[in-house]
């Protein structure tokens, strides 16, 4: 089981999923029409480290975060 959290302006509660890699997550989230714009512009972190590959393996207890476009300052 991994946890998926949606940060900042994405108004969506966290999900718990049984998946083994980010490629599976991509397919699940692409089914959600409300998320389609966010998927285009969100970065992804696993356990607070930004990742760049869908092959990133996931382990039980991992936390996946979706980070929409930022504007601090």
């Amino acid at each position: 089981m991994v946890t998926v959290e949606f940060l900042g302006p994405i108004n969506k509660p966290a999900m718990e999923l049984e998946i083994d890699n980010l490629n599976e997550l991509a397919h699940i989230l692409q089914e959600d029409k409300e998320l389609s714009d966010w998927l285009q512009n969100c970065a992804v972190a696993v356990n607070n480290n930004l990742v760049n590959s869908l092959e990133t393996p996931l382990n039980a207890g991992d936390k996946i975060s979706l980070l929409p476009p930022v504007c601090g300052g």
Binding site: A26, L29, Q30, C71, G73
Partner: protein
Amino acid sequence: MLSIYNGPLDVPTILATWYKEEAQSNYGAYIPFIGTVRSEDNIEGLSFDIYEPILEKWFQEWEAKAKERGAIVKMAHSLGDVLLHESSYIAAVFSPKRRVALELIDEFVEDFKASAPIWKYDLKEGKRIYALDRSTAIQGSGLLAKGDAL
């Protein structure tokens, strides 16, 4: 040092505190950058969300980069609402010499704008509206929109 404050920053106090903290550290140059909420587009103010775990990591990486160049960085940011002409952001560099300080403050502030996990909202008529058009997608964004066929 990374400090998160609820609401606007007390700029004079933070600038003075950092100056005094490093008074005996033998840094020749201290450059703070102070960001203040501008009146534009009929906003009443701004509001901020912060994801602290990733912000801490981002900041620690900058502490390491600064250290390689003999410098240190400090940062303060507001959480929640900050009204017009109040300040929400201070970044600062201390270094022995001016060139490192001038280059580092520029790189630090620009990378902050592009990468720090902070989300900005306009406050308009009491509502909190995500400032998407002024926001920057973090490098590598869009990963989950791709996806290979399973």
